[in-house]
């Protein structure tokens, strides 16, 4: 979807899915900012990101963390 084709109505609807009501007074400013983010994402589409690339996010179990042991069974 092109950033320029985003409507204020769509923005309002998207915000409602997040439990937030966007007032008319702020719609233009939020729309402009949202379009800027979409344009940035569009530029990133040109990057040579491999199909196997994983995101740079850490989820791990740290060594030595205090694990809670299950109670001993009788």
């Amino acid at each position: 979807m092109q950033a320029g084709s985003i409507t204020k109505e769509l923005l309002r609807t998207l915000a409602l899915t997040q439990g937030v009501t966007l007032p008319e007074a702020r719609l233009d400013a939020v729309l402009k900012q949202y379009q800027a983010y979409l344009q940035s994402l569009a530029r990133m589409e040109s990057l040579p990101i491999a199909r196997e690339a994983e995101p740079e996010i850490l989820f791990t179990h740290q060594m030595g963390s205090d694990a809670v042991e299950p109670p001993a069974r009788k």
């Binding site: 994402l41 990057l47 990101i49 995101p55 740079e56 996010i57």
Partner: protein, 488 residues
Amino acid sequence: MTSRREFLQYSASAVAAMALPQTTPSPGQDLLPLTVAEAGRRIASKQLSPVELTRQMLARIEALNPKTGALITVAADQAMDAARTAEREIMQGKYRGPMHGIPFGAKDTYYTQGIRTTAGSYVLRDHYPTFDCTIVKKLKEAGGILIGKTNLPEFSFGGVTPGCHNPWDLTRNSGGSSGGSGSALAASMLIAATGGDTSGSIRNPSSTNGVVGFKPTFGLVSRYGVVPISWTLDHLGPMARTVEDVAIMLKIIAGPDPMDQFSARVAPQDYPQQLKRSIRGLRVGVLSQSEMKGFHPDTQKAFMDAAKVLEGQGAQIKEVTFTENTHIAAESHGIIRICEAATYHRQYLRKQEAEYRHIWSNDPNDSNTRITVEAGMLLTSAQYLRAQQARKLFMQEFYKIYNTLDVFLDPTMPSPADVPAPNAEGYRNWFDLNGFPAVSIPCGFSTNPRGLPIGLQISAKPFQDSLVLAVANAFETATEWHKRRPAI
């Protein structure tokens, strides 16, 4: 053992006697041109009382805060109590180290037990944390005296701090988002402060106010108990007027923290002790001129001169340019930042959206933070994760460059305080995105407009924080920029 009377007798004259050279005298108050290291030595030898130092600092804050707007909250009673405790301990021989008896300011995102923590926003106007963040806890355990909370833009969003003025020219802003810390240090209202850095917010105000600010390797310093912008981009670190002071504070605040899931299991080093290593033979990359389009001419000149200083000390200089892919991948910073921030702000946007504005603002429509996070909230998880994939590519590109270098230099800011540089791309964000350690130190002053500080950014690979500080120290030792003081 020195009596309390003797302790105080020495103190008042000791403070006045420690005047460092400066361009013009400050009006009205005794000068506090101290550094943490100098004050620490005097306190350790009982020539300076923490009570007298704190009292003088509070007096200076009272005199200058109306002009600078650097502090949101001053905790005078708590600070004096802590100072009296520190004095008693030191007189009993229970000396804790170089931070004992030293007042410090904390950016108002840092949770401070019983002391209001607003994050610069009306949303948190009545927020009184029930615990200290890890950094404040460590500084207090080292004997530091929390004296106040420094100003920042609302929820740290932005490079300009509302109501906060630059001591070098009070008509100009102090930068941000740790603008209050930067301004207070430059004005000698504080000798030690803390900051937060997600998009350059320790280094921006450090450069803008002519002080030293250090963003450590991601994970070296705990983020626990600090109002976040973005969990995987936030860094916290020390600010002061010299590299040695920053090293002293870093040694105290660095180290693993089980309360911070991103905390690195790396023991802190003796950063002050490692400052004096030689930089002879170091491979130093410098940002090429082609990457400085739109940078102010004074900034470019100060930067080139700074590189020559290090070359004169034996560093091997080589120019660095970045690939187009690196520039594009760096945009992932903005997406990651706003998606994570929007997730944090959901709790306020759903129930307190009408309260967004700076803590000092009366205008309910005055919140760029709210607009930004509302827009970020509309991005999808797939878009966020795409940016995190781009981040991985960015890291790979960066390691290719840094594997041929020991340190990298660039100007911290494209231009001095409030001087427009509309088409210039600064590189501060990049070091939040890759988590590499980076410092900003004073490296000159502008000529047009006259007299505004310019900062040099030095960075290295992860966990080479001591190398960054050693190179910064080598530059500082060979120059006098850090000794200048504004006429305020």
